[in-house]
């Protein structure tokens, strides 16, 4: 029913979103913890900064990422000089774009979930001799896991749907950087309505399934 380009786009979207969500969790949960539990200078400034991609248009985020990672960019130029490789117009660029736009969801939700864990339980763990990292693993994260799981689902959904920043950073190269949203845009732009219909249905179905599964996952255990 679907052509290979559609399946490729779907596979690419899932891969990009899965990798981006993993990275988002690795960065976002510790960041959420630090923002929730540590008072340091510039805490709210950092919170605002990582939240910016939530309110900025994706094209603006994409533009910043070009300034940062482009061949003449702040990080991109030295990287290109040393390795001859640029992230621009690769599937990895789609991961970077998805990571940046999805990160605020993870940080916001995990910060809120961790702040909601009763401070006395943490104190109790400390007085029982347990270190902070152990307390995080055994007490804080287990009790905050629903919020964190919700953040991961939102991040995944946002990463799957990422369009603007991806287009600017990764372009729309069939089979290489053309994720589902880009493929749908391409189908509509070239007037392939039937194909666009199917792609949209497929995408909606998969997203709904992911949300449903995540809901069950976060509700099943006490």
């Amino acid at each position: 029913m679907f052509d290979t380009a559609a399946l490729e786009a779907l596979a690419l979207s899932v891969r990009v979103a899965a990798i981006a969500t993993t990275l988002v969790a690795l960065v976002g949960i510790p960041a959420g913890y630090l923002l929730a539990r540590r008072a340091f200078f510039g805490r709210e400034l950092i919170d605002a900064l990582v939240t910016l991609p939530l309110v900025l248009p994706p094209t603006v985020v994409g533009y910043y990422l070009i300034l940062l990672l482009g061949r003449h960019g702040l990080l991109g130029a030295p990287l290109y000089r040393w390795t001859g490789w640029s992230v621009m117009f690769t599937w990895q660029a789609a991961v970077v774009a998805s990571f940046v736009v999805a990160l605020p969801f993870m940080i916001k939700t995990s910060r809120a979930a961790i702040e909601a864990v009763d401070r006395t339980l943490v104190d109790a763990s400390y007085t029982l001799g347990h270190s902070e990292p152990w307390t995080v693993l055994r007490v804080t994260l287990p009790l905050a896991r629903r919020g964190i799981a919700a953040g991961a689902v939102l991040s995944f959904a946002r990463a799957m749907g990422e369009f603007g920043a991806t287009l600017m950073l990764a372009g729309n190269i069939p089979g290489r950087t053309s994720t589902m949203p880009l493929e749908i845009y391409g189908a509509v732009a070239s007037g392939e309505w039937g194909r666009a219909h199917l792609l949209v249905l497929l995408f909606t179905g998969i997203s709904a399934l992911a949300l449903f599964g995540a809901n069950r996952l976060t509700r099943s255990t006490p």
Partner: protein, 236 residues
């Protein structure tokens, strides 16, 4: 040599704590009105709040001393702390909660001691239940067992019986008394209840407005005398 020596000073907006007292391997009751600094004192002994200056020593171990620049983190103070709301871990079973208190013990010893305490505190059969599935008195005993598992040097109890009915309160008091004597554990019990203080305390430390106003045996400190404002209010 068991004992607890405490000297603490801390200025907060609208409140100043300035106390100094010492106990042996006794059960001491911190007695006084709300806001007198009793809970803050416990938090400072445990290392959960930091005084501006002072000294806390449990036996020979110095836990906090501004002169010597010593301030051990709560993890290294060997203090059993029973919180007012008990602070049981809701995602762990009764047994897991108790075992969590066994930090630093060998695995076998931890298991054996946990079994003993579970038996002794009448929690047998409840090991696999979660805290929200057992009664208030049982929760109380879980918190108590958890705090005792690794044989702390000092036991602190912050009004742990306040949510119990009179009968359970009495029983828990007896259990505390018994365990405290047996382990010769310097113990601080914060309470509002003069009857409880009278019944359980070896020594009573009366707080008011961030200061110690009296310290001594319950018969002397809790007697209703003119000028003994707090005990009378609490007894009446």
């Amino acid at each position: 040599m068991n004992g607890l020596a405490v000297a603490l000073r801390k200025r907060l907006p609208g409140f100043e704590l300035d106390v100094s007292w010492e106990i042996g391997a006794d059960l001491a009751v911190l007695f006084g009105p709300s806001g007198a600094g009793k809970s803050l004192t416990l938090r400072m002994i445990a290392g959960l709040a930091r005084p501006e200056s002072g000294r806390v020593a449990a036996g020979d171990a110095i836990l906090f001393d501004t002169v010597r620049a010593v301030c051990l983190p709560p993890q290294r103070r060997s203090i059993g702390y029973v919180f007012q709301d008990l602070a049981l871990f809701p995602h762990m079973t009764v047994l897991e909660n108790v075992l969590y208190g066994g930090h630093g013990l060998e695995r076998e010893e931890r298991g054996a001691r946990a079994r003993d305490l579970v038996q002794r505190f009448g929690l047998a059969g409840l090991q696999q239940h979660r805290p929200d599935e057992i009664s208030g008195g049982q929760r109380q005993r879980v918190a108590f067992a958890r705090a005792l598992l690794r044989r702390p040097a000092v036991l602190l109890l912050d009004e742990p019986f306040s949510a119990l009915d009179a009968r359970l309160r009495y029983d828990m008091g007896e259990l505390l008394r018994e365990v405290q004597r047996e382990m010769r554990l310097p113990t601080i019990l914060v309470t509002h209840d003069a009857g409880e203080a009278m019944r359980l305390a070896d020594t009573v430390i009366c707080y008011d407005g961030g200061c110690v106003i009296r310290q001594g045996p319950p018969g002397e400190t809790l007697e209703v005398k003119p000028g003994a404002r707090e005990p009378r209010r609490a007894l009446g």
